[in-house]
């Protein structure tokens, strides 16, 4: 009973904050609303004993939203990050698509006869997760790790203000590089 009451409170918070993301006046407020939605979902994960995943979700998303807030204030030219704004296109079709999707997914959730629960959760779900990713599911982590490294490299390549193609031309044949500032280690 207590768990249900807490879940519904968190559910209403998560959905209301999610709606607020696209209803509030400024992007800074939208960022905070999205953070609240994620914190509510993270807390809901704690309710079902997903301690590690719930805490990771909360910590990661709060940090991510902080970065997003700074990012928007940095890059928005006319600074709508702090001012009232409404920048939407094709609003009617987007609303229809969202409502149809909700009816489809929620209808499926309510109509499907879900099977009975099989098994019980481990006494310490965090330790069980650790044992799993360091044991039989290690391949998953071995796959995620290079993807993360590739993401870091791709992020640097995309955001770098001056790459090798800028310095050496599209065919990389423009040696010596006409650098306005010498780079490298002086060799």
């Amino acid at each position: 009973m207590f768990r249900s009451a807490v879940f519904w409170a968190l559910a209403v918070t998560a959905v209301a904050a999610g709606v607020a993301v696209f209803r509030v006046d400024s992007m800074a407020r939208a960022t905070y609303a999205l953070a609240v939605s994620f914190v509510a979902v993270g807390a809901a994960l704690l309710l079902v004993e997903l301690h590690y995943v719930g805490i990771v979700t909360v910590l990661m998303m709060v940090m991510e939203m902080a970065v997003m807030g700074v990012y928007m204030i940095m890059f928005m030219g006319m600074n709508p990050a702090l001012m009232p704004m409404s920048m939407v296109h094709d609003n009617r079709r987007a609303v229809i698509a969202a409502v149809v999707t909700f009816l489809f997914l929620a209808g499926g959730a309510l109509l499907v006869q879900w099977p009975e629960r099989r098994g019980t959760p481990a006494a310490d779900t965090t330790a069980a997760l650790g044992g799993e990713i360091m044991g039989p599911k290690m391949l998953v982590m071995l796959t995620v790790s290079p993807v993360m490294v590739a993401t870091i490299i791709a992020g640097i390549v995309l955001t770098s203000p001056r790459g090798r193609y800028d310095r050496l031309g599209e065919d990389l044949g423009g040696r010596p590089a006409e650098d306005p500032q010498p780079g490298g280690v002086g060799r």
Binding site: F7, W8, A11, A14, V15, G18, V21, F22, M27, T31, L34, S37, F38, V41, A44, L45, L47, V48, L50, V53, V56, T57, M60, V67, M68, Y71, F75, M76, G77, M87, V88, H89, A94, V95, A97, A98, T101, F102, L105, A109, L110, W114, R118, G119, P121, A122, T125, A128, L129, E132, I133, K137, V140, V144, M148, A154, G155, L158, T159, P161
Partner: protein, 100 residues
């Protein structure tokens, strides 16, 4: 608290995110919509894990979803930075070269 209830809430989060991803013009707001959709996916996966098969394998799937969310955000920020640097654009309509 039942699986049905969890999935209905997850559906609501996913649908609100879909609305944002389709309707918003600012690149960062589109990313927020995508994040909200993944928020719903996380909740649904947690519901399936708890109510159907609370084995550790399900938790690994949740970690993969969170990793996917991280990659999406990092690449989204990088592409938005590139767009801003190369053409002073922060709206999706200003980067519609490939549409149509």
């Amino acid at each position: 608290m039942t699986l049905d209830a969890v999935l209905v809430v997850a559906s609501a989060l996913f649908s609100v995110g879909l609305y944002g991803a389709l309707s918003q013009q600012v690149v960062v707001m589109v990313m927020m919509g995508l994040e909200l959709m993944l928020n719903g996916v996380i909740l649904a996966a947690a519901g399936f894990w708890w109510f159907l098969s609370p084995a550790p394998t399900g938790q690994v799937l949740l970690l993969v979803i969170i990793a996917a969310m991280t990659v999406e955000m990092a690449m989204g920020f990088a592409v938005a930075t590139l767009l801003h640097r190369t053409r002073e654009a922060d709206m999706t309509d200003m980067a519609a070269d490939l549409s149509g």
